[in-house]
């Protein structure tokens, strides 16, 4: 049993780390784009279009791509006082309490994944990537023309004529993230690896 769990853990951990790295790149992108906009607006009087939409989109990516790694590295906000205290007196109790908490958190993340999955499916179905669209031009048979047409059909956010982006990648990021968080929590609950630790100065964000 333990062997199987370990075999599952390794790839899950690497997916969380890779997704974290992608989210990190988005942060650099965000700082860069905003500064280009400030300079373009302040110096050349030509603000970039759609910066607000880009910012919102990148926020979704940053938060949800990095959340699994936050869970993995035990940095999700919590107050450890009671568990640390219990650890010194009743180590067994503290150990099982923290596993139960991880189990409950995993179930909660699973619930979120379950409610957002239909959202993702709906948003990607509006593009009609595979099925023919109900109205508008029929597929031409040319792959890239059809793909571009499909993207143009997608349910979008933003303001038409200024900046629009399809919703589904954001919805996918959310679904992917909460599913991964759910798996990581469940693995923590099953393996019981986590020991409660007090705030380490590099750890607590607030």
């Amino acid at each position: 049993m333990n062997d199987i769990l370990h075999r599952i853990t390794a790839p899950v951990v690497s997916v969380a780390i890779v997704s974290n790295a992608v989210g990190t790149l988005v942060i650099f992108l965000l700082v860069g784009i905003m500064n280009v906009d400030i300079i373009a607006r302040g110096v050349f009087h030509a603000p970039l279009r759609g910066v607000v939409e880009i910012v919102i989109f990148s926020l979704i990516l940053i938060v949800f791509l990095q959340l699994p790694d936050v869970v993995r590295s035990n940095r999700l906000t919590r107050s450890d006082g009671f568990l640390v205290f219990a650890e010194t007196r009743h180590p067994n109790f503290a150990h099982y309490a923290s596993r139960v908490i991880d189990l409950a958190s995993g179930i909660f993340m699973g619930l979120i994944a379950w409610t957002v999955f239909p959202e993702f499916v709906e948003s990607i179905e509006t593009c009609h990537f595979i099925t023919p669209p109900e109205f508008g031009a029929p597929p031409t048979g040319e792959f890239f023309t059809d793909l571009a047409a499909a993207f143009a059909r997608c349910e979008y956010f933003g303001t038409p004529g200024i900046f629009t982006a399809p919703w589904w990648p954001a919805k996918l990021a959310i679904f992917f993230s909460v599913t991964l968080c759910c798996i990581i929590f469940l693995l923590k609950a099953l393996t019981g690896k986590r020991k409660p630790v007090l705030v380490d100065e590099s750890e607590s964000p607030v």
């Binding site: 974290n20 790295a21 989210g23 990190t24 942060i27 650099f28 965000l30 700082v31 905003m34 500064n35 906009d37 400030i38 302040g42 607000v52 910012v55 919102i56 990148s58 926020l59 979704i60 940053i62 938060v63 949800f64 791509l65 990095q66 959340l67 790694d69 936050v70 590295s73 940095r75 999700l76 906000t77 919590r78 107050s79 450890d80 006082g81 009671f82 568990l83 309490a97 923290s98 908490i101 409950a104 958190s105 909660f108 619930l111 979120i112 409610t115 957002v116 959202e119 919805k171 959310i174 909460v178 409660p196 007090l198 705030v199 380490d200 100065e201 590099s202 607590s204 964000p205 607030v206």
Partner: protein, 436 residues
């Protein structure tokens, strides 16, 4: 059970679960989900609330201030600006008894204007100021107390993560909250410095015995400029940009982040590796704060659905509770929660409960935000879980100073905070005056 009773019970359940060590966003989300289900009697409503919170929770433009100001704060710490400000301040206060303590407070206040976190301030200044004070024969409790007390300035003087979080829950403008934090932050700085000065005159033993003033090493004009110009420039870009209306708070954060990056590069404090670590750290902080905010929005919707804030308002009227009583209840509640919870969680839990009430009394929500942030921050200094004190203990690495010493040392500063808080409650103009 009536919806209001379920709502009230769920607040108690959340606090109890958080005390037990359940992840705060999970406690907020799970309890709210179950409460909505019970109140409505239908699962569909609970799932819909959860779906909206998860998928639309972070789609707000001002939320971008969180990653941007976090990047800026982390880069500024890496660039060593804290050490520089401290050296200059130390020079200025050197002649006075307790001067090094005042310098620590002053340097923290300036450093706070370029970072948004008390944790950053506490760990930076523990490493620089505490060993220095110990060397000059200062009392160990005083030394750690000064660092702990002044670290809270990081979250009151803008830019501040806590002011940003409050502005989200209360739907106030981030820019206005930042400006409102300036005077209370300076007031607290002045109160700390006055306390050290008066203690030095009346009760020098509290500071230490046989205090040495240290060697006289004058700084040249060039050194002073080299150590102050980058910080002053950053403050001008960020606060100046927001105050003049030239930059939105989000843009100010981005500009500040770029400027801090350039400063770090020019100081040769930046490698590819440390840049990457800074970004990862930023991502972790952003993800955990915004996920917390997302779940807190579910909680505040649940409270509204249960009708709890309105009910609280009615209770207030039946018992004829006035402004003073309400504020006493509010501050005591925050102090109680502050014993175990971190500042962000306190703000997210109490503000949705009280905001309707405060608005109904005709009070300014900007003022209420400053009161909330300072009140919640007192908890950083109080046992059993004053986070600032833990940070100091863990970055100190000195077996001679126990956690108890840190708490004892921080206590007078927590009392001063409470006094300043009372002053700010009594005179709202201290926080709102700058906006007019």
């Amino acid at each position: 059970m009536s919806p209001v009773e379920i709502g009230a019970l769920s607040v108690v359940a959340i606090v109890a679960m958080v005390y037990m060590g359940v992840y705060i966003p999970v406690a907020l989300g799970m309890v709210s989900f179950v409460s909505i289900w019970i109140i409505s009697g239908k699962s569909i409503l609970a799932f819909n609330f959860l779906k909206i919170a998860a998928s639309d929770g972070v789609t707000e433009y001002p939320f971008a201030t969180i990653p941007l100001f976090t990047v800026m704060g982390l880069l500024v710490s890496r660039a060593g600006l804290g050490t520089d400000i401290y050296a200059v301040m130390n020079r200025a206060f050197k002649a006075l008894t307790g001067g090094i303590g005042m310098a620590t407070v002053g340097a923290n206040a300036v450093f706070a204007a370029v970072t948004g976190s008390s944790i950053a301030s506490a760990s930076v200044f523990t490493r620089i100021a505490v060993p220095e004070m110990r060397k000059l024969n200062y009392n160990k409790r005083f030394a750690v107390g000064v660092v702990a007390g002044s670290s809270v300035l990081g979250m009151i003087i803008p830019p501040s993560a806590m002011l940003i979080i409050y502005s989200f829950v209360s739907e106030q403008s981030v820019g206005e909250m930042f400006l409102a934090g300036i005077v209370p932050g300076l007031l607290l700085t002045a109160a700390y410095i006055a306390w050290i000065y008066i203690s030095g005159k009346l009760r020098p033993a509290y500071l230490g015995t046989n205090i040495d003033h240290g060697a006289d090493e004058p700084l040249s004009l060039f050194e002073i400029l080299d150590k102050t110009v980058p910080t002053v420039a950053l403050i001008l870009i960020v606060l100046g940009g927001i105050y003049t209306g030239w930059l939105t708070p989000v843009e100010a954060g981005a500009a500040g982040a770029l400027a801090a990056f350039l400063i770090a590069v020019m100081r040769r404090k930046m490698t590819w590796r440390s840049l990457w670590e800074t970004a990862i750290e930023t991502g972790h902080i952003t993800a955990s704060i915004l996920f917390l905010i997302t779940m807190a929005s579910l909680y505040s919707r649940m409270l509204g659905y249960a009708g709890l804030p309105n009910q609280l308002n009615e209770v207030l009227q039946t018992y004829n509770l006035g402004f003073v009583e309400v504020m006493i209840i509010y501050v005591v509640l925050m102090l109680f929660l502050g014993t175990l919870l971190d500042t962000a969680s306190i703000i997210l839990i109490v503000v949705p409960l009280f905001i309707t009430l405060v608005e109904g009394m005709g009070m300014s929500l900007v003022w209420f935000g400053i009161v909330t942030v300072i009140g919640a921050e007192i908890g950083l200094l109080t046992p059993p879980l004053g986070i600032s004190c833990f940070v100091i203990k863990s970055s100190l690495n000195d077996p001679d100073i126990s956690l108890k010493d840190v708490f004892f040392g921080a206590f007078p500063f927590a009392v001063i905070m409470l006094l300043v808080l009372i002053l700010i409650i009594a005179f709202p103009v201290l926080s709102t005056g700058i906006l007019n």
